[in-house]
Amino acid sequence: MRYLPLMAQDRTEMLRTIGAKQIDDLFKDVPPEARLEGLIDMPRGQGELEVERALTNMAANNIAAGSVPFFIGAGAYRHHIPASVDHLIQRSEFLTSYTPYQPEISQGTLQYLFEFQTQVALITGMDVANASLYDGSTACGEAVTMAHRITKRRKAILSGSLHPQYQEVVRTLAKYDGFDVSVSADRLSGTESLLELIDQHTSCVVVQVPNFFGTVEDLSKVSQAVHAQGALLVVIVPEIVSLGLIRPPGDFGADIVACEGQSLGVGLNFGGPYLGLFATRQKYVRHMPGRLCGATTDVQGRPGYVLTLSTREQHIRREKATSNICTNSGLCSLAWTIHMTLLGEKGYRQLARLNHQIAVQLADDLSSLKGVELLTPVFFNEFTLRLPRPAGPVVDALAEKGVLGGMPASRLMAHDGAMENLLIVAATETNTQSDIAAFRSALGQVLS
């Protein structure tokens, strides 16, 4: 077996050193009735060639986003990733190391985490950020439970325009952690019903920017109402490129910001691994979940970095920890910070503008089709259209024509009849003029 360095003779010698006759002597603590005699019912080992063939065949049964005109978003976005990102994250010293528990021989990981935390704090307009969580949805859940620790209240309010699966993640936590959740009736835009729900028992209000339907809206009223009741404002950003063009959550009073970082460096990956970004105000640092990297010096006075404030974490605090998270999204945070460093201020802003401009053009082109209406006039790179008929079958018909043209809102909100004809469409810098033309023409044909 190509991955197993011990040879038969080594095994014999090692058993002799141990004083065992055969390998099964070492498994003697296993109850006899649980010792497996034969092999598990699965094929025997295969060579690289065979495994590569099998997996390549499976991969060929999927339509890669890059092979067709592609316009799906809804919490995961297709962006171009510079070639050097994937090269650098495959450096052995990054790829095959563990959590930097021995800082003297992990400065590479620790320094990039320090840089990463700073970049996340800067783009969100917050004071501090952690070293990553699993993804945007679990980061959203952690934000809510953190707000409970800070406010000592247990009633969260979610905007109805928060990603439906994020809502479900919070509701699932609520059921088992025993807190209350209410969801406002707001959908495509507006915060009126959200404002009505806020009272003196509210721990936090969770809003998404841009929201699930693509709308970017004024949250200053929400922020005022939340803070007037002593509650916290939690802002979710599922498309991190947007912050290159729109005002950061810190500007309008966010207390906790949780983002999906997948857009930079990570790729689509059918939903994972992704990257949870998590930022907050300085005064709440000790309530944060997850690892934190901090600056210090070594005994010779040289600058260096360590994991710090770990008395918040499960390995020290156990059942009183701020979260049970251990393994996070380390390598994805590396990909993200490399991509962000390559972009820099100039590239990040330009990338955001490019996304917006292409989406504006696409929205105008599609809504010029008969019966197609743009419902979200203030948007970044994603918007919602009303079609003259149910969007689900339209998307399937578009796929038949080789266009992956958005996501039917009903896929994630099946219970809401008002969603049936709504199509959520995203555009990024990867979309060409011919992609846009192909989408418009295919949609026109499907609807005619």
Binding site: L6, D10, L39, N61, V169, R171, V216, G271, T296, C326
Partner: protein
């Protein structure tokens, strides 16, 4: 051979050379690297993008106008920055990384290549399902393999790491108990458990009750049984446990747990010891997470990502969270909401959803490639070699170090710091001296049940030569400690990119980001 010229010059001693400052601060391959905030420039970029067409923005007053402060680097500068950083990291590919409980085995590069096929890496989680049949097939195939290896009837694939899997298992247990109208309040956790276990139980609204360990490093079965009453929802037991020992009485424990109406969560972080040799389903468990980033070799990546699928017993199967993959006449289908689940199976009662989308596809591809590469025979050999290597280390070191519990051990061997008594040297000092010998230290101070724990997990990836070098180096260090060479330990590491770092100062006045000054 010295030239006459050189022999006339007084040479610096090796000690002088080692401490000598250089003008640049760099020392040959050891490069000091500044922060991107000191190197970069806001006007610089390593990405050439098209100029956006002059279309008026639709964002009105929401546009960001103030500078953000993000430095940029061109590609050559960025590549050099991150390559230099990487060179200050230890990794599995550098040398032996015997970090107990973490299973730092070789990460096959075929798996990296497969995970990057556009058909896996470049597909969107919400594409129409007919366009991702191969991806759903792979998830299903991996799920079937994990069920076969564990002897369990059901699985939840979506948890994003081990601790997330624990959350999944304990939520499923609570859902099952509530479904039978049985609200219980306590979860039993052995004192040797990993911190994620009590943290998870607390996050699911349970009180945590600690079970002591017995003198042989296993859970104290009598104490456990004494605590089993109608208020106990579950026990969380790691097997092999965090002392590297098989819980001999596990079947008995499972029977007692079930007789008391409770359920059995097994922490499967140490499944590498059992794969292909023992099916946890035959031990009577109800749920167990599998860290694909341990047993199935997906890279740890400096802290993640991982994946923590959870196998479930028939008692818990109906409560598995959304989403999951089923196979029918029209191919593979993803069940994404409660109605679909109900349509698909009458008894389905998913307890909820742990994450957006469907879990860690990139990890599934790697784990499946690993599973196919090894096959039934290779996976069994993995467990045998891992256990053999740990016992070999134990047998080769126990005369000079102190093993608190008798062997055989499973895939990892536990020592404590008794052998250092009277030397003035601690487990921490010993670990730092291992760095100077070119090894990554073992896990230190975990589990908490012994003093100054040193948990060594060699994994199956080390050759005998490599194990022998490790053993010889450890014996050398033990001898140095016993001979009173305290300085070696207290000043270690000396040859690493940094000497010991001041963690107290870091925590007292946290500096968690760069600030311009």
């Amino acid at each position: 051979m010295k030239t006459s010229h050189m022999s006339s010059v007084a040479m610096e001693t090796p000690e002088e050379v080692h401490m000598k400052p250089t003008y640049s601060g760099n020392k040959a391959l050891a490069q000091e690297e500044k922060l991107i905030f000191e190197l970069g420039d806001m006007a610089k970029t390593g990405v050439d993008l098209a100029e956006p067409a002059p279309i008026p923005s639709r964002l009105a007053e929401f546009e960001r106008t103030d500078p953000i402060g993000l430095p940029g680097l061109t590609e050559p500068e960025a590549v050099r920055h991150y390559v230099r950083l990487s060179q200050t990291n230890y990794s599995i590919d550098t040398g032996m990384y015997p970090l107990g409980s973490c299973t730092m085995k070789h990460n096959p590069r075929l798996n990296e290549k497969m995970a990057r096929l556009p058909g896996f890496a470049d597909i969107h989680p919400l594409q129409p399902q007919q366009t991702v049949q191969g991806a759903l097939e792979l998830i299903d195939a991996l799920a079937e393999g994990l069920k076969a290896l564990t002897g369990m009837p059901a699985i939840a694939m979506s948890p994003r790491a081990g601790a997330h899997g624990e959350l999944c298992g304990i939520m499923a247990i609570r859902a099952a108990l509530e479904a039978r109208g049985d609200a219980r309040k306590t979860v039993l956790v052995p004192e040797s458990a990993h911190g994620t276990n009590p943290a998870t139980a607390a996050q699911c609204g349970y009180a945590v009750d600690i079970i002591p360990s017995s003198a042989d490093g296993r859970v104290d079965v009598a104490a456990l049984k004494a605590k089993l009453d109608h208020d106990v929802a579950a026990i969380m037991l790691t097997n092999p446990n965090t002392c590297g020992l098989f819980e001999r009485d596990i079947i008995d424990v499972a029977e007692a747990v079930h007789a008391a109406g409770a359920l059995f969560y097994c922490d499967g972080a140490n499944f590498n010891a059992l794969i292909g040799k023992v099916r946890p389903g035959d031990l009577g468990i109800d749920a167990m997470h599998i860290n694909l980033h341990k047993t199935f070799s997906t890279p740890h990546g400096g802290g993640g990502p991982g994946a923590g699928p959870v196998v479930l017993s028939s008692a818990l199967a109906p409560f598995a969270p959304l989403p999951y993959v089923v196979h029918g006449p029209d191919g593979w289908r993803l069940i994404e909401n409660h109605d679909e689940a109900g349509d698909q199976a009458d008894d389905a009662a998913p307890f909820g959803r742990l994450t957006a989308f469907h879990g860690q596809m990139g990890m599934y591809v790697r784990a499946y490639a690993y599973m196919l590469s090894h096959g039934s025979d290779g996976l069994r050999q993995v467990a045998e070699d891992a256990v053999l290597s740990a016992n070999y280390v134990m047998a080769s070191l126990q005369d000079v170090m102190s093993a608190p519990y008798a062997g055989p051990c499973m895939h990892e061997v536990l020592f404590d710091e008794t052998f250092l008594d009277g030397t003035g040297i601690s487990t921490l000092d010993f670990a730092k001296a291992m760095i100077d010998e070119g090894f990554h230290p073992m896990t230190m101070y975990f589990p908490l049940v012994v003093h100054g724990a040193m948990l060594i997990e060699p994994t199956e990836s080390e050759s005998k030569e490599s194990l022998d070098q490790f053993i010889a180096s450890m014996r050398f260090l033990v001898l140095a400690a016993k001979n009173g060479d305290v300085k070696r330990f207290k000043s270690a590491p000396q040859f690493a990119p940094r000497a010991r770092l001041d963690e107290t100062a870091a925590a007292r006045k946290p500096v968690l980001r760069w600030h311009p000054n």
